[in-house]
Amino acid sequence: MLRMSERPHERGRWRHLPALLVSLAFLLPVWFMLTGSLRVPGAAPTPGVTALPIDPSVESFRRALALVPLGRFALNSVLVVVAAVPLTVVFASWAGFAISRLSPRARGIMVAVSLVALMVPSVALLVPRFALFRTLGLTNTYVPLIAPSLLGTSPFYVLIFVWAFRRLPQDFFDAGRVAGLSWLGVWWRVAMPLVRPVAVAVGVLAFVFTWGNFLDPLIYLFDESMFTLPLGLRSLSTVGPQDAPVFLAGAVLATAPVVGAFLYAQRFFLREHRESGWLGR
């Protein structure tokens, strides 16, 4: 205890080491993706990976964009994300807020139901969902990709909100009610500002999920002009081994927005961390 308080800087410096090592392990593939994408396509592939690009070139990016309309696909992905992510946060927080207001018994049941729902493999629902959307005449539209956000996308996100709201003092909500707010008002004016990092986290998770969603576009979209990025990337992945840089260029283009979103969102975590901590306390 004494040693720690005597040498706070020493301790601070070393405690980041494990985190640094872990992030290094995760950064390496990203680095190889980047350097690989800068190799000239069409050349014989190198066995193994190259740490530094020799003779870097953006030719593979040009080829990737020429082979597959990645720009169009990216726009389509953005369209889906812009609709699905905010809807996910709103609906998951509504569900979470409602469940957190239930009696302990009812809440337990709802949490259990959510957990059970979480355990149903999504593949098992694929055919029934397809049949449903087909009956509604909604295949080959973005509705099947966005519709799950009306259920909060995943029971997991709902549960995250349940736990976040449960950790807030219940007096806050009662005070809101006394002040004449409706429940919707309490949710928006009292509850949500207090769990903002959670909302951001769920937003980021939903963004990553929607952005990388491969199966749903594969099943529901027929028209190539409506395809999303993962389908384009998949198509690029079928190029020959001599064109691996082209595929990696596509991967860089598809990954960049996710990295950007994360870098943007992490400001919220860090700020909240300094002010009041994770989960808004």
Binding site: G48, V123, V127, V239, Q242
Partner: protein, 431 residues
Amino acid sequence: MARKVMAWSIAAAFLAACTGGGGEGPAGGPLGGTVQIMVFGDPEEVQSFRDLEAAFEEREPEVDVQLVVASDRDDLLARLATSFAGGEPPDLFLINHRFAGQFATRGVLEPLGPYVERSDVFGLEDLYPEATGAFVFGGGQVCLPQNISSLVVYFNRDLFEQADVPLPEAGWTWDEMVERASALTQDTDGDGEPDVYGLAVGPSLIRIAPFVWSNGGELVDDTEHPTRFTLDTPEATEALRDFFDLRLVHEVVPTEQEVESEDDAARFLNGRAAMMMSSRRDTPVFRTIEDFTWDVAPLPVHDEQVTILHTDAYCLSEASDHKEEAWAFVEFALGPEGAPLAAATGRTVPSLIEVAESPVFLEPGEPPANARAFLDTIPAIRRVPSISTWPEIEEAAEPFLEEGMFEGVPLADVVRSIDEATRTIFERGRS
């Protein structure tokens, strides 16, 4: 792996949900409406389908072709299985013969036999019978093949000439191949590890099968109604041992780790494999090679010349509302106008004999010079059984074949494990 699991789960759901129905015969009338066609391929191959689509739409302006593109076979199967099970199958789709059985035996396909019979563009006899035969189910011609490709040996002519090794030629024997592969396996930088391998081939069932047949063995007990593998016969076991010995004894093929870091096609591209066994599908990629010349030759022979069939066919959904339009597309795509468009990709050997024997295929001005090797071996083609569970059987057998070739697991154990792992899958394929 996850995608494979996914594909199988969907397939299982599909099989459970599918119901067959009575088919309607061909009928006349003006063409019109939208035809949905599901295909798969890399971006350049997809472009050839788009060319085909454009040419067809020019011919039939009232028909709108909606091309649904999957990237590879797994994606195609996921799409197909879901759309069939969900009740909205594509009108037409292109599928490999090893994967067609699961659709054909469920009665969800409209047989194309009656359509081709009344066609005045081409008849069944104008297509290679070795390919059409792979799509006969229940005695009828169900799907119509777009291509026919056999397994051949691609070889790096420069490496052969530098090492003064005789080039592969028609009728060469297995032992000659091993001998030449050994001469070509070289450690060029003196680190004790080979830098150039004589041969690149992996222990998959469809690579091993032609040699089992060539040695007088059989893959299964009954080609039409198989119940089990027959790899335990002396002929089959010998062929299997010879194949595994490529790695275990002669060390002329790369190790498993080396294959992981550089697959066979990449190794050949790099000039680090003198020979490689593959179907026609690698030709477009190899045409990008500038550093050396290459060509193709028939497979080496144990007792008799045999090769294995690779073919994809157009299948028509029984539930299609636009059967006549879909047929018009098949007729166009496989006929003398469409077949050259598909052949131009270099990726396929056209199923229409007339086009395969024409300069479009034989002399496109690009390698392989000996494109005829693909045609000459067609009479020697055999194929794997057309049962619905064949893809699963292959997948179940593969890990044991890898253990046999790369880890030296005793041959008897490999053969027994494969038999044990696949019996029930054969059983399911019969019901």
